[in-house]
Amino acid sequence: MTPLSPELLESVAAAAVREGLADALFTRVSTPIGRLLVVQGADGIVRVGFEEEPEDEVLAQAAAVTGPRLLASDRELAATREAFDAYFAGEGDPHGLPVDLRLVRAPFRRQVLEELQRVGPGEVVTYGGLAARSGHPKAARAVGTACARNPVPIVVPCHRVLPGSGGVGSYGGGPRRKRALLELEGALLPTGSA
């Protein structure tokens, strides 16, 4: 069987976007921490999936809030792809990108992730610290849950939230990725140099 040509698929996506038929677009970005699946709706990035997350599930989660008309297009998401590339080249921060937190239903978790967007690259915050900033100093555990379930990792930087007791703590994409991101941002010394 002949697979569909990328040209044909891009052309369908472009026509669909022109006609307002796309509920959301997605693209696969190659990065030093593996391939990321980025889903972006009209209001911003809805979901970022790590390589080991089944694509069907990630897309279905996004579709549940954007509508089912999801289309792949590297071209229509060129700006988003460039922002990710620049970030992984150490030249920017993808959190300039618009974010749509509709997948976060619980109000407190949403508030935590909104607060977290103010923590810039190179900075870190503790779970307790972020709880305090979100207005509930005793809710460090709930902050942990909010981070663990963050639908848009990297863009909303839950990797910048560390345990008060030291170490990098846990991460939805695994502690190794968390460390790699923090090293990239200069918030941690590269492993082995300490």
């Binding site: 069987m1 002949t2 697979p3 569909l4 040509s5 044909l8 698929l9 052309s11 369908v12 026509a15 669909a16 006609e19 038929l21 796309a22 997605f26 069907d56 897309l59 279905a60 996004a62 579709a63 549940a64 509508g67 089912p68 008309r69 999801l70 289309l71 792949a72």
Partner: protein
């Protein structure tokens, strides 16, 4: 109601076979245009689908309709002096078969192609056309009878 899958999942799963279907109906030259049109039609209708059953068959039907409409549009575009009765659309490899069925209505042509080019049984034709197997058999046999009568005349 079962949730509709993300549209692109369907494209990635069935895109190849739909392109083959479009090629059979419209020829190599027009297949990609037909498929693109079909996918856009499908996108327009997608949110209005009331259930998530038979999505593959539905995509085949949409592609079939897009192929028929494209064929009609091309025929309208041809200047009159370029349509001698025996001229087959040049997109088809099998000129003789296409020339034979060219005078028939589009729906009859599609039924004949599904039966004799794609070699589908009536169940298969019914799925593609979105009708019952009985109706599919009827369409093919009516088309064959029309052809016979034309040749007898």
């Amino acid at each position: 109601m079962e949730v509709l899958p993300p549209f692109w999942t369907l494209v990635e799963t069935h895109g190849d076979e739909l392109l083959i279907h479009a090629r059979r109906l419209a020829g190599d030259q027009h297949a990609e245009d037909v498929l693109q049109d079909a996918l856009l039609r499908a996108l327009r209708a997608y949110p209005r689908l009331r259930h998530a059953d038979h999505l593959r068959a539905w995509l085949y039907r949409v592609t079939t309709t897009a192929a028929i409409d494209a064929h009609r549009a091309r025929r309208r575009e041809l200047p009159v002096e370029e349509v001698p009765a025996a001229a087959a659309p040049d997109a088809y490899d099998d000129g003789s078969f296409e020339a034979l069925i060219a005078p028939l209505p589009d729906s009859a042509q599609v039924a004949l192609r599904l039966r004799f080019v794609e070699d589908l049984d009536y169940e298969g034709i019914a799925r593609q056309l979105g009708c019952s197997p009985v109706a599919a058999r009827q369409r093919v046999s009516t088309a064959v009878r029309t052809l016979r009568e034309r040749h007898a005349a």
